[in-house]
Symmetry: C2
């Protein structure tokens, strides 16, 4: 018998308990591991809950119980999650977490402690919810040098953008509706301003490069400024607008960014709609592969957490090497990134645009009094300079 404790009995924590206990016999048959939840840590009481007897309020009960081999952290945030997780690892317990904020901020430190204690720090659910991506990066793409990652890593923003595209609505209107439907938080900042995607691409980039990518150094732009007119242009170009989190490396220079981008139809990310997430990984041997699925939700996320719990159960006393050390990977400044830009300008600025930019094409989407154009590939710095001196700019979106 292997005992686990779950810290945080919210949406994900309760799903995890339900899956470990509800699938107990199946998991045992499939994997040969007999896993039980012994404690659930939460400040609240849960009268009538089928697992209310397992609730404890004192974290020391878990930390001091030598029978607990695996601790699941589904509290979110870094306080007190960081302290609790660190204590568990120092006590030689393995930790499985869905907490991207924790992993992005303290991943390499916690991995190092796990290694020293012959335990494991696993975080499959921290990126892409139920989509297997962390373990495939660690165990499947081992022969590949990872050249790039491009992902739609946030379901809320993708849902909002999909509805704007389908229904021709503005951002604020769809956001309100998404909040009413429970697809967006009351305070939607972490999602719509890209902070959630930023932490996730930092985690993936670190695993791809083997060093630590500091999420605070990733240029991050959200979707608040995207308008229904932008989607008219996207359609005219056969593209869609997605919040893309990406990194690219040639082994020397590494670039990362989170921003809305114009994605072309032939890109597999184009057809990722609604709350779905997808992560495209480019390896120097395997070329492009993509992982797709539900990036959030109690059960999908629990699927990933419990898979980690099973992996931890299979490796008690055996540390699984993770390619991520605490040396910081220096990202190139945003100004060096090079790509095409889509720019909307007032009709009166068309002539000036043609003079100041190498324009690849002008796009007419039937929007009154304005036109738009796509530039040749240029650096962010060159673009910023050129667009700064152009009058009548209405908006700009990067091309993917």
């Amino acid at each position: 018998m292997i005992y686990a404790a779950v810290m945080g009995y919210g949406t994900i924590g309760s799903g995890v308990v339900k899956v470990i206990e509800g699938h107990h016999d199946y998991i045992s048959k499939k994997t040969g591991k007999d896993i039980r939840v012994k404690y659930i840590l939460d400040l609240r009481e849960f009268p009538g809950d089928p697992y209310e007897d397992l609730i404890v309020h004192d974290v020391n009960v878990i930390m001091d119980d030598p029978e607990i081999d695996i601790v699941v952290e589904t509290m979110g945030g870094t306080k007190p999650a960081y302290d609790f997780v660190k204590r568990a690892l120092l006590a030689g317990k393995s930790v499985c977490t869905s907490n991207k904020a924790l992993v992005a901020a303290y991943g390499p430190e916690l991995l190092k402690i796990a290694e020293k204690r012959n335990a494991n720090f696993l975080f499959e659910a921290s990126v892409g919810g139920g989509i297997p991506i962390i373990r495939p990066l660690n165990t499947c793409l081992t022969a590949d040098k990872i050249i790039g990652i491009q992902g739609i890593l946030n379901g809320t923003t993708n849902y909002i953008l999909t509805r704007m595209e389908d229904e021709g609505l503005g951002f604020e209107e769809v956001l309100k509706d998404a909040q009413a439907l429970g697809y967006a938080e009351k305070d939607p900042t972490a999602d719509v301003d890209g902070f959630d995607s930023c932490r996730k691409i930092a985690i993936l980039s670190s695993l791809a490069c083997g060093k630590t990518v500091d999420y605070r150094h990733i240029y991050t732009e959200g979707i608040r400024l995207i308008t229904s007119e932008d989607f008219l242009y996207a359609r005219a170009m056969g593209r869609s607008i997605k919040l893309i989190a990406s990194m690219y490396t040639d082994g020397y220079d590494t670039h990362a960014i989170v921003a809305p981008m114009m994605v072309e139809k032939s890109d597999p990310l184009y057809s990722v709609r609604d709350v779905f997430n997808a992560i495209k990984v480019t390896g120097d041997v395997v070329d492009d592969i993509m992982f797709y699925g539900k990036g959030a939700g109690s059960l999908p996320t629990s699927s990933a957490v419990v898979a980690d719990v099973i992996d931890a159960a299979k490796h008690i006393g055996i540390n699984l090497k993770v390619f991520w050390n605490d040396e910081e990977l220096q990202l190139c400044g945003i100004e060096e990134q090079k790509r095409k830009f889509f720019v909307r300008v007032k009709n009166s600025a068309k002539q000036a645009a043609a003079e100041q930019f190498e324009v690849e094409e002008f796009i007419d989407a039937g929007v009154e009094d304005e036109t738009a154009f796509v530039t040749a590939p240029m650096t962010e710095m060159a673009f910023a300079a050129a667009v700064g001196s152009l009058p009548g700019v209405i908006g700009r979106i990067r091309m993917c």
Copy 2:
């Protein structure tokens, strides 16, 4: 130092050697495993090849060398692959193979030998080329009961269907062109008649259910009868035609089939084009997830084989449990499968169709002298009976 031998120096085998040797330092840094190719078994000589010194013609050199811990089998077919692989496993060596015919025919027996000898039999590359799917099924979806799998598992047929769709051409014409371009074999039967997909879905179904699905019991239909007119109807319905390999289980009854199907736009398989493969897996916890990438080719396939080699190197003397035993899973007969059907009939048969079928809709795609309809969901048996007594049937395709 861990030594591997590669049996079969063709497209995939040579890619494997290139990746193990060419990425030696990188793999060693990333995984801590120092792996070298010691022998390459092939009947031919390769004068001038950078690895010609490693070529041997006698399999006993490999079998009798206790330094060889890992054998890569990239010969294809089952003779002599089966004998060689069995001997290697009995000698306690791990085997990594890309050979779906071998895995579909002898998987459970070879897994059992590997288990007894504390070695591993790994076959990530046997399905989906470079796409990680076998290891994710074994190590990521462990908390899920797999309810269904639907895949586009053959790049050649998907390439042919994509070109028929885009260019309005007939099957024979595109096949000839695909052969000229090297996308289809001179003898295209294994691909276009669905036998390749059939073996692959048998492997995936076995891993999903934990028992052995005999590929010979899977109803298999290829794409030879698909016409350019079929694509006119598909377009009129907002669908595409794909060769779908699928299995579905409710835990009691299990169904499997390989056949061309009409896939709707909202299905992530809809946008899988050209030589790409994709596998959609439905778990009772995670819901739908999809894996996408290049299903063939020297380097993508080598990526998967070498990932297996690295996994084998990490687990020398430790058998990785695989959920697949030799008990045969009894598939339900095809006649019990239930779905909608798309049927093309001569205009004169429209009235009879409306009487003999519960028609959901008639579709007009502007094809002279004929019409088409979609039935309500019905069993294969009921459909066969009804369509058999309907005059003027031109063709039928299953709805996905």
